[in-house]
Symmetry: C2
Subunit: 412 residues, 2 copies
């Protein structure tokens, strides 16, 4: 009796394709080819797909044209169509190449969420239907960004939702790997559009990636990285249009000697507010930031100068879109407590130095400040975490600050 060759079981891989990776017919065909090449190597492949290119933005525009303040439940009904379209088209592209594939909407496949429309959280994923199709040998294509609420309504997961769908699927399917295909080729030491000598990182820790993301790197959403960290799912961030390896996000990077600084980010989506001449009495700052918190305004950095006289200045930053609301609240409180004028400044930028190595290396902050000083860049505010240092500088000095820090920390 001749022995049948044993079929290698291969890996279970979840691949996520963002909007730019399925933006048109040609790109959908490319994604189909890549998925097939993985499946043909004996892997079981689950694809999580975003809406094509700007579809979601277009649907939002259409909605706003009809109702400037649309119901969130109906927005979810509307927006969830985008991924359904790209998923079914991708399945058709795979079929044309003679391979089995099946597309599912989030609700259909059992991605169960809470009931917070437009920003739902995934509660669990029922994997039976996916596993059944994988056993058949089909590539399973799932609409990202969406789910079914416990109230049986269609929900969406908010910004970065498709990343979250992919990571959560990897968790519930116990996948070996989660790959995120995007329009950049990985994680860089700085934004290569601003710093041409920036280098692609081979690997990065979850914590570092979390800092980078929350400090402005727009490659993956913080929520998705948090979930990946929690369940220890390695994520491979890579380019859709290249075969080059990207960057692996994982618990511990493989390098023996950790570099002290892993990357530098720059954002300019914050604004600064200053309450002048605040009476130096306890409770005023608590009152201010409590009010801002109640109104859903996220405060990032806070600086209160040591008071020389009977008054002090309180400065803080908020995202620009929250500025008007924050200004109104601050002025009202300033008036109530007998403080002075409230100044706002939108011409600021935040440059941040990130690296887990900082935990065990002293002097990073000092080096950062001295690099900026040597280059005559004035620091307006400073905040630090265990693995990052952020400085507020004038907006006009932002790019220069990024470049000199990148060079100063020898990341090029």
């Amino acid at each position: 009796m001749s022995k049948m060759p044993k079929k290698r079981k291969g890996k279970l891989i979840v691949q996520k394709y963002g909007g730019s990776s399925v933006a048109d017919v040609a790109k959908i065909e490319k994604a189909a080819q890549r998925l097939i090449s993985y499946a043909k190597k004996g892997n079981r492949v689950v694809a999580v797909i975003s809406a094509m290119g700007d579809t979601t933005d277009e649907l939002v525009c259409l909605a706003k044209e009809i109702n400037p303040n649309p119901s969130e439940r109906e927005m979810d009904m509307l927006m969830s169509t985008g991924e359904q379209i790209s998923c079914s088209l991708l399945a058709m592209a795979i079929h044309k190449r003679g391979m089995g594939a099946i597309s599912f909407t989030g609700p259909q496949v059992g991605i169960i969420t809470d009931t917070y429309h437009t920003q739902a959280k995934i509660l669990k994923i029922e994997t039976d239907r996916i596993k059944k199709e994988l056993i058949k040998g089909s590539i399973v294509i799932i609409a990202g960004f969406q789910g079914l609420s416990t109230a049986l309504e269609i929900t969406t997961l908010g910004r970065g939702g498709s990343d979250l769908s992919a990571v959560a699927l990897a968790v519930f399917l116990k996948a070996d790997l989660c790959e995120i295909y995007t329009d950049v080729e990985g994680i860089y030491t700085a934004d290569p559009r601003v710093v041409p000598e920036a280098k692609k990182l081979k690997s990065i820790t979850f914590d570092e990636m979390l800092e980078l993301s929350s400090l402005g790197a727009q490659i993956m959403h913080t929520r998705a990285i948090e979930v990946a960290k929690k369940f220890n799912i390695p994520i491979h961030v890579r380019g859709s249009f290249t075969k080059e390896e990207g960057t692996i996000i994982m618990r511990k990077t493989s390098s023996i000697e950790k570099p002290v600084v892993r990357g530098i980010t720059l954002t300019s989506n914050e604004a600064k507010l200053t309450l002048c001449n605040v009476p130096d009495k306890p409770g005023i700052a608590a009152h201010l930031f409590n009010e801002l918190g109640c109104k859903n305004i996220n405060v990032d950095m806070i600086v209160q100068n040591v008071s020389h006289k009977r008054t002090t200045d309180i400065s803080f930053t908020v995202s620009k879109k929250g500025l008007t609301k924050a200004l109104k609240i601050s002025k009202s409180i300033s008036k109530n407590v007998g403080a002075g004028e409230v100044i706002s400044d939108e011409t600021i930028a935040k440059v941040s130095v990130v690296g887990v190595g900082m935990k065990s290396h002293s002097g990073v902050a000092a080096r950062c400040f001295s690099i900026l000083a040597k280059n005559k860049i004035n620091i307006d505010m400073i905040s630090t975490s265990e693995i990052s240092i952020s400085c507020i500088v004038k907006k006009t000095a932002g790019k220069k600050a990024l470049k000199v820090l990148h060079k100063g920390f020898k990341l090029g």
Copy 2:
């Protein structure tokens, strides 16, 4: 104690808006206004919505670009997004005007179908969720054309599917009335674009409407009328952009004296085939039409001339898109049975005279033929039903035939 004014319960009305009635933002706003005006009169209103304008056609084009022969299951995934978009937008437009509304996809609301993708049949509708929302006073907006199969897949209902959704919802909700809003203002004695003096009918019977539809009037799909007839749901066909009454389709029209002829239709989507010199032996016609039936080719009219010699000619009509297949089958059979050549003719038109009054009035056929003869229009083939007479004429004579019959039967 003062008595509260008793709230009139009002009617339960299902309104269907076709693609042209929700083609753009302005038209969606108009539909919203109309729905609200009905709801404010104390009616409970369920709206069934098609995809906006040419959305469905655009999605089909996109699919064909990727795969000329797409899987029907994936086509249903793709196409069902069109109605979901228009439904959610309509809900937003109603909200803006301060009224409650909620949109549902077909699967979500429990429109259960069989498993025949792209041409599914509705098996049942679960009305609990709709009724719950109606009790709250919301306008319930439902995506037409789609449902959930017994295999938990998204299905679509094929051509005229939204009409079918509307009528089926009216049946299962025991609605008082089903209104079909469309881009024509009702049912006319003939197509007003060809016969300007055509008159809008106040009412028409289900049977007459069925004949008119299957003979080419494209206002409502035959399947929807069949269901309405079966469950005796009166249908009001009316224009989306007018307050004028349209035409009521019902079991019995109210007019005391039924007009003998209710309307005249013209189509030119058929082609004629003739098998010449067929040996006059039994079983050949049966063999031919059996083969055509097996290949899903719908044969409309059949004429076999009385045979003078040992051979006869068999002519029949098929839809133009089935012509190539029908020709191939006919040629093969002709060869096998020793018949002569097979001739096809695409330059034909079918003009039909419809009216239930024919049942009790003789001489309608004779009058029809003599009107055509008087106007020197040659009749190629004739077929009749209980309430209709159809004549095949040269395509070039089609419009003239329609006009002279409309005039001859005094319908103007």
